[in-house]
C-alpha cells in the first residue's frame, strides 16, 4: 500500500523501450541495410551450401598402356570403374601424358609399362606408374589412394594365389570394416551449412555493430543521445536488442534452409542451439562494440572488424579441420568464439549433441562473451559519444 514506484514501469524500462523503438525505426527505414541483414545471409547460405563440395571424383586421367595386353586392358578398365578416376585420353608414354598435365587437360597419368602382363605371369614384380598433378594435394592424395588400393588388393590376391599354387597356406588378410556415423554418404553440404551459420552471424553482427556505432559517432548523433538522461548501460542494451532478434532470425532461416534444401538432419535439441546462438551473439556483438570504441571513424571500424573477422573465420575449423593446424595455432583457436559455435552447431544438428555433451563449449562461449562484452561496455560507458 505504501510503495508508489510499483505502479509505473521502472524508468530504465521506459528508456530502454524508447531507444529500441528508435533503433528499429532506423533499421527499418534503410531498405538496403535490411536487405543486407536478412536476405543476403539466406542467399549466401544457398550459394555456399551448393558451392562447397570437397568430394574428389572423376579425376581426369590420361592412360598410357604400353603393354597393350589383355591383362593390362582389364586392369585399366577395373581401376577406372570405381568413379574416382575418369578416362581423359590415351598416350604412348609417361612423357606424353605429363604434357597433358602441363596443359591442364588431365590431373593424373596412369602408365602400364611394357611386359606388364608377362611379368605378372612369370612371377616377377610388375610395376604400375602414376604421375600426378600435385597442385591440389587433396585431389592427388585421393587419386593416388584409389590406384594404390586397387593394385594393392590385386597384389595380395595374387600373392595368395601363388602361395596356394606352391602348396603353402595363403597369408592372412586384415580387413578394416568402416562404419560411418552421422553422414554416411560423406556429403559436404550437411557439414558446411551449420558452419556457415557461424560465419554469417559474425559478418552480420560484428561488422554492422562496429560500423553502425562508428557512423553515429562520426555524425554526432551518439553524442546527442549521450546528453539525454538515459544511462549508458540502458542505451547499450537497447542498441544491441535489434541485432539479437536479427541474429535469431538469421539462424532460424539458415536451419530451415539447411534442413529443406541441404538435408541437414536436426538430431539435437534446438534449445541448445538457441542458447548457443544467444551466447555467441554476446561475443560477436561484444567484439563489434569493442572495435567501435577504439576507432574514430567508419573506415577504421571496418578495418578493425575485418582484421578480426577474416582470421576468425578461416581459423575456426569451418572450412578446414582444426586438427590440421600446427599445434600453437590449435591452441589459439580456443580464443575464437567461432570455433565453439561451429562445434556446437555441428554437434547439435548433425550428431544430436545434448546439453550434457556440449556444456564445455557453451561455458567457453559464455565466458568469452561475458568478458568481451563487459570490457566493451565498460569502455563504451566511459566514452559513449
Amino acid at each position: 500500500m505504501s510503495a508508489p514506484p510499483d505502479r509505473r514501469p521502472p524508468r530504465a524500462w521506459i528508456q530502454y523501450a524508447a531507444v529500441v523503438r528508435k533503433e528499429v525505426l532506423q533499421t527499418l527505414r534503410d531498405r538496403r541495410v535490411m536487405f543486407m541483414l536478412l536476405f543476403a545471409p539466406f542467399l549466401q547460405t544457398l550459394v555456399l551450401g551448393f558451392a562447397v563440395d570437397f568430394d574428389v571424383d572423376r579425376v581426369p586421367t590420361v592412360v598410357a598402356d604400353q603393354d597393350r595386353s589383355q591383362e593390362s586392358r582389364e586392369h585399366l578398365r577395373r581401376v577406372l570403374a570405381d568413379g574416382t578416376l575418369r578416362f581423359a585420353g590415351g598416350a604412348d608414354s609417361a612423357e606424353e601424358g605429363a604434357g597433358a598435365l602441363d596443359r591442364g587437360e588431365a590431373a593424373a597419368v596412369l602408365v602400364i609399362p611394357p611386359r606388364f602382363g608377362s611379368d605378372l605371369a612369370a612371377g616377377r614384380t610388375a610395376e604400375v606408374q602414376v604421375v600426378l598433378d600435385g597442385t591440389d594435394p587433396n585431389r592427388s592424395n585421393v587419386a593416388a589412394g584409389a590406384v594404390s588400393r586397387y593394385f594393392g588388393e590385386e597384389g595380395l590376391r595374387r600373392a595368395g594365389d601363388r602361395a596356394r599354387a606352391a602348396g603353402v597356406s595363403p597369408p592372412a588378410r586384415i580387413e578394416i570394416v568402416p562404419r560411418l556415423f552421422y553422414n554416411p554418404s560423406l556429403k559436404s553440404a550437411p557439414y558446411i551449412v551449420p558452419g556457415i551459420a557461424a560465419m554469417l552471424l559474425v559478418v552480420v553482427t560484428t561488422l554492422v555493430t562496429a560500423m553502425g556505432l562508428a557512423r553515429e559517432r562520426e555524425q554526432g548523433t551518439l553524442e546527442q543521445v549521450a546528453v539525454t538522461p538515459i544511462p549508458a548501460g540502458v542505451l547499450l542494451a537497447a542498441k544491441m536488442t535489434p541485432f539479437v532478434f536479427i541474429g535469431f532470425f538469421d539462424v532460424l532461416l539458415l536451419v530451415t534452409a539447411g534442413t529443406w534444401v541441404f538435408g541437414v538432419p536436426l538430431r539435437g535439441n534446438l534449445a541448445v542451439m538457441a542458447l548457443a546462438t544467444l551466447l555467441y551473439l554476446l561475443s560477436t556483438l561484444g567484439v563489434g562494440l569493442l572495435i567501435s570504441t577504439i576507432s574514430s571513424n567508419q573506415q577504421q571500424a571496418f578495418l578493425g572488424g575485418f582484421l578480426f573477422t577474416l582470421p576468425a573465420m578461416l581459423l575456426s575449423g569451418i572450412m578446414t579441420p582444426i586438427d590440421s593446424m600446427p599445434r600453437w595455432m590449435q591452441w589459439l583457436t580456443y580464443a575464437n568464439p567461432l570455433r565453439y559455435f561451429q562445434e556446437i552447431a555441428r554437434a547439435n544438428l548433425l550428431k544430436g549433441g545434448s546439453f550434457a555433451d556440449l556444456w564445455p563449449n557453451l561455458l567457453a562461449l559464455a565466458l568469452f562473451g561475458a568478458s568481451i562484452f563487459g570490457l566493451a561496455a565498460a569502455r563504451f560507458r566511459k566514452r559513449p559519444g
Binding site: R32, V33, M36, Q44, V47, F54, D55, R58, D102, G104, G123, T125, E127, V128, V130, L132, G134, T135, P137, S140, N141, V142, S148, G152, G155, A159, S169, P171, A172, R173, I174, I176, V177, P178, R179, F181, Y182, N183, L186, K187, P190, Y191, L207, V208, R215, Q298, Q299, F302, L303, L310, L314, M319, T320, D323, S324, M325, E343, A347, K351, S354
Partner: protein
C-alpha cells in the same frame, strides 16, 4: 606544344591531378597505408600455416576386445606413424558420446577372436567406427586405414616368407608439388584472395566516404570529367595493390617455398589486370551505395565470399553444380588463381594463360565503364 594546348595532355594532367590528390589522402593516413601493406602479409603468414586439409595425429580411441599380441600389433600399426594418435580406450557402445564430445574422431574395434582368425588364415576383421560429419577428414581416415590394413597384411605375408617380391607395385610421383604440401596449393590462391578483398574494400570505402562527407560534390564542381575522376582515383590504388601482390608473393616464395617456375613479368601483368577489375568493382559499389555501411556489406558480399569460395582457391570448381560453375566465370579471382598457379607452379607462359588474362581484361573494362557510367554528377 605545351601540355595545356593538347587535349590528350590536358586529359593526362587532370588524371594526374586527381591521382596526386588521392596519393596525398593515402599518405596522410599512415594507419590505413600500414594496414593495407602489413595486413595481407600477416594474413598470408597466418593462413599459410593454418589453412590446410592434411590431417595427421587423428585422435583414435581403441576398443581392444581381443587383448592378444595380434590385436595390440594392429593398434600399434595405426599409431606408430603418428597418423593416428591414441587417446585411450573406449567402449564401442559409447561411440555416440565420444564423437559428440569430440574426444576421438575414430574408434578402432578389434573383436574377440581376431588373432584366431588371423592364425586360421581367414580374413581377420576389425571395425573402424568413424565420425563422418566432416567428409574431408573422414575420407582421409578411410584412406589411411585402408593403407595400414594393406601394409600390415603384406608385412605378415613377408614375415611368413611367402613372397619376397610383391607381385604388383605402384610407383606414385607428383609433379609441381611433389611433397603434396597444402601451402603450395593455398598460397597462390590466398594471394589472389587477399588482393581481391583489400582492393574492393579499400576503394569502396574511400569513395563512399567522399560521398558521405560531401567532398565528391566539390570534385564535381571542378572542370574534371567523370572518366578522369575514375582513372585518377584508381591509379594510386593500382600501384598500392601491385606492391601488395609483390609483398605477398615475396613472403609466399621465401616462407612457404612456393616455386616461381614461370615469368615474374607475366605475374605482374596478370596482377595489374586483376587489380584493375577489383578496384573497378569497389568503385562501382561505392557509386551505387554512397554510404560506407552499405558499401562494406556489398563489398563483403560480392568479393569476400565469392573470391573465397567460387575462385577454386579452396574448393575445386569442377565439383560445383552447373549454375555455380557458370557463376564462377564472372568471378575474376577464378582467373587470377588459375593464372598464378599456371605461372608459378607449372611454369606455363603466355601461350597457356592468355585466356585467363583476356577474361580479366574484359571484366576490368566492363566494370570500369559501368562505374563511370553510373558516376553521374548527381548531387545527392
Amino acid at each position: 606544344m605545351t601540355l595545356a594546348g593538347n587535349p590528350a595532355g590536358r586529359f593526362l594532367s587532370r588524371v594526374g591531378a586527381i591521382a596526386w590528390k588521392e596519393i596525398l589522402h593515402i599518405r596522410r593516413d599512415p594507419r590505413t597505408l600500414l594496414l593495407a601493406l602489413a595486413m595481407p602479409v600477416a594474413m598470408l603468414l597466418l593462413f599459410g600455416y593454418g589453412v590446410s586439409f592434411d590431417v595427421d595425429r587423428i585422435p583414435l580411441a581403441i576398443s581392444d576386445q581381443d587383448r592378444t599380441e595380434a590385436s595390440r600389433r594392429l593398434a600399434q600399426a595405426f599409431t606408430e606413424n603418428h597418423e593416428f594418435e591414441p587417446v585411450g580406450g573406449a567402449d564401442a557402445d559409447a561411440a555416440d558420446t565420444v564423437f559428440r564430445r569430440r574426444r576421438a574422431t575414430a574408434i578402432l574395434v578389434v573383436p574377440r577372436g581376431y588373432e584366431t582368425d588371423l592364425a586360421r588364415g581367414g580374413p581377420a576383421r576389425a571395425q573402424l567406427l568413424l565420425d563422418a560429419a566432416d567428409p574431408v577428414t573422414a575420407n582421409q581416415v578411410l584412406a589411411k586405414a585402408d593403407a595400414i590394413a594393406l601394409f600390415e597384411s603384406r608385412r605378415m605375408a613377408s614375415v611368413a616368407g611367402l613372397s619376397a617380391a610383391p607381385p604388383l607395385q605402384v610407383k606414385v610421383s607428383a609433379r609441381y608439388n611433389p611433397e603434396a604440401r597444402s601451402a603450395v596449393f593455398i598460397v597462390p590462391g590466398l594471394a589472389a584472395y587477399l588482393m581481391a578483398v583489400s582492393a574492393v574494400l579499400l576503394t569502396a570505402l574511400t569513395v563512399a566516404g567522399e560521398w558521405e562527407r560531401g567532398s565528391m560534390e566539390q570534385l564535381f564542381a571542378s572542370p574534371v570529367s567523370r572518366l578522369e575522376i575514375v582513372l585518377g582515383k584508381l591509379l594510386p590504388y593500382l600501384a598500392l595493390g601491385l606492391i601488395q601482390l609483390l609483398l605477398v608473393l615475396g613472403v609466399g616464395t621465401n616462407v612457404f617455398d612456393v616455386p616461381v617456375m614461370g615469368s615474374p613479368l607475366l605475374v605482374i601483368l596478370a596482377g595489374l589486370l586483376f587489380l584493375a577489375g577489383m578496384l573497378g568493382q569497389g568503385l562501382l559499389i561505392s557509386v551505387v551505395a554512397k554510404n560506407q555501411l552499405v558499401a562494406t556489406q556489398a563489398g563483403a558480399l560480392s568479393s569476400l565470399l565469392p573470391s573465397l569460395l567460387l575462385s577454386g582457391m579452396l574448393v575445386p570448381i569442377d565439383n560445383m553444380p552447373a549454375p555455380l560453375r557458370l557463376l564462377s566465370r564472372i568471378v575474376p579471382a577464378r582467373y587470377m588463381v588459375d593464372a598464378l598457379r599456371q605461372i608459378l607452379l607449372k611454369g606455363n607462359g603466355f601461350a597457356r594463360v592468355w585466356p585467363d588474362l583476356l577474361a580479366m581484361l574484359i571484366f576490368a573494362v566492363v566494370i570500369v565503364a559501368l562505374a563511370t557510367k553510373r558516376f553521374t554528377r548527381r548531387i545527392a
